[in-house]
Subunit: 340 residues, 2 copies
Amino acid sequence: MKFRHFSRVVIPAVACCLIIAQPVFSQVAPDDPLPSWNDSATKTAIMDFVRKTTEEGGPQFVPADDRIATFDNDGTLWSEQPYYFQLAFALDRVKSLAPSHPEWKTKQPFQAVLENDMPTLMAAGERGLVELVMASHAGMTTTEFEVIVKDWITTAKHPKLQRPFTDLVFQPMLELLTFLRANGYKTYIVSGGGIEFMRPWVETVYGIPPEQVVGSSIQLKYEVRDGQPVLVRLPAIDFIDDKVGKPVGIQKFLGRRPIMAFGNSDGDFEMLEWTTAGDGPRFGLIVHHTDAAREWAYDRKSAMGRLDKALDAAPMRGWVVVGMKEDWKVIYPFETTSTK
Amino acid sequence: MKFRHFSRVVIPAVACCLIIAQPVFSQVAPDDPLPSWNDSATKTAIMDFVRKTTEEGGPQFVPADDRIATFDNDGTLWSEQPYYFQLAFALDRVKSLAPSHPEWKTKQPFQAVLENDMPTLMAAGERGLVELVMASHAGMTTTEFEVIVKDWITTAKHPKLQRPFTDLVFQPMLELLTFLRANGYKTYIVSGGGIEFMRPWVETVYGIPPEQVVGSSIQLKYEVRDGQPVLVRLPAIDFIDDKVGKPVGIQKFLGRRPIMAFGNSDGDFEMLEWTTAGDGPRFGLIVHHTDAAREWAYDRKSAMGRLDKALDAAPMRGWVVVGMKEDWKVIYPFETTSTK
């Protein structure tokens, strides 16, 4: 995780989309599994890959067991601006724990959180972030943490858009997940985000059950308290599921190589490399944030995220690059429902 | 893992079972999903639990997503005598690597392996065992290791019974796995054994895919060699999936608590405790090795294994204890096919 620009101006995406959503949906063929995707080469590439890998007796047929598709989460399935949504969770959690920690008023990086002093918070860097994560994500049981996350995800609002964070998932990717599953693909999240931060809500939002989530984790300790066993979340890193950690996490959890992988940053480079280097049909896709009007626009060495090495590698390796502006009719689900 | 008595006499189980298998199978009702189980209270308990948890609208109904059943492997799904079968793999592997390691001729514990000197090997204890595991399980890529395991599992023979190790799976447990899956249960292995030692063959043998295997692991490192990405197995422990590690492994991999758990030793105590302490219907079962004639008989503080604390806890906690002698008509699948 790393901090992003907090100062940028958010374009009023909602109003914009209300205008374009109506004509978009009236043009869609009723049997189109990807109605929010423009009829571009990208959509054709996805449809062709699924068709050929599921065509029994065909030369590129893949048995259902091997139809594994892995998706990064932040920036691939939902937005990640102005900062990772899990950081918003950490900030909110520090604020709600503050009454029990009077020392935080004068201790960084906590003081910066409590004073909404983003420049100081950014200056605390990765070490400061780890301190925040441990203070906000550890010390409770797994059951307690699940309740905390569920409560937050249903009540918290995006700092700019003032909508629940789960409103900010990408409608075209929801359709893609559904389409792949309808074709016998097993869909997994493989994210640098916290595994137990995602599990409580991804089944409802993405249709992905907790056992199909791979992510970063802190250590757990088994204890019996008053006769009841619990798993306590310890303030110590267990696994970082990012960059080279992604193929490692995939092997640890799945024990087989995916045939499709979807990401949006250099943190996904190795997952795409590992996935597409296997034998037989392979598919790699990068979501390129090109839509400053409806979402955000960033790549390369932007402070908002980094898509540099992977963007350069894409043409050579045959990875499909989705331009959000060019390829997606709508970004968020509320754009489709708000016109009905 | 720990060493067991190597000196015991193996009763000729095969001949014995050839005699009893014929009448057993002619008595079975055609629609009985557990034909190798005697009609005992144990079988009734299993059938009742599955019936009530799958009865839609019933008070004990469990949605399909939560029907998770976890199985220990060694001693629960297949035999584990005269020593864990993975140790047999390690010993065979050390022998096949020996030509490249002339120093092993005079270096323990390798010398003991090469000279079949079991007492010295046992005396090397856990430290010696870890040395053997690292020498035999690390240093290659995950793809290479998979080939090594597949080759071994299809060619190696049990040291006493002279059969492939996969012949020594328990027929009643195979039926139970199939029965549970037919009722919407997702079956997982949660074993102290090596996760990548099991994955190459458990799908064929148990019908359990690689992504439903939780086990002990060594660390992996992502590398690109001559343009090809590989995952290298490092000689360093990553996770021990035994005792308190079992609930931790379950949470890491599944993110939810099973409602059924099956084990055979004190190494499974915490998995059973964690599983059966949850709300709603819960089921814990211990396979008790009581059949010296057809398999092996051991429990308590035996050098062959330890089932002590869990056996004492079973009545208080409502865990079902399966006596292999009393509850199982046949032990191994070949007992049923050899009479056909």
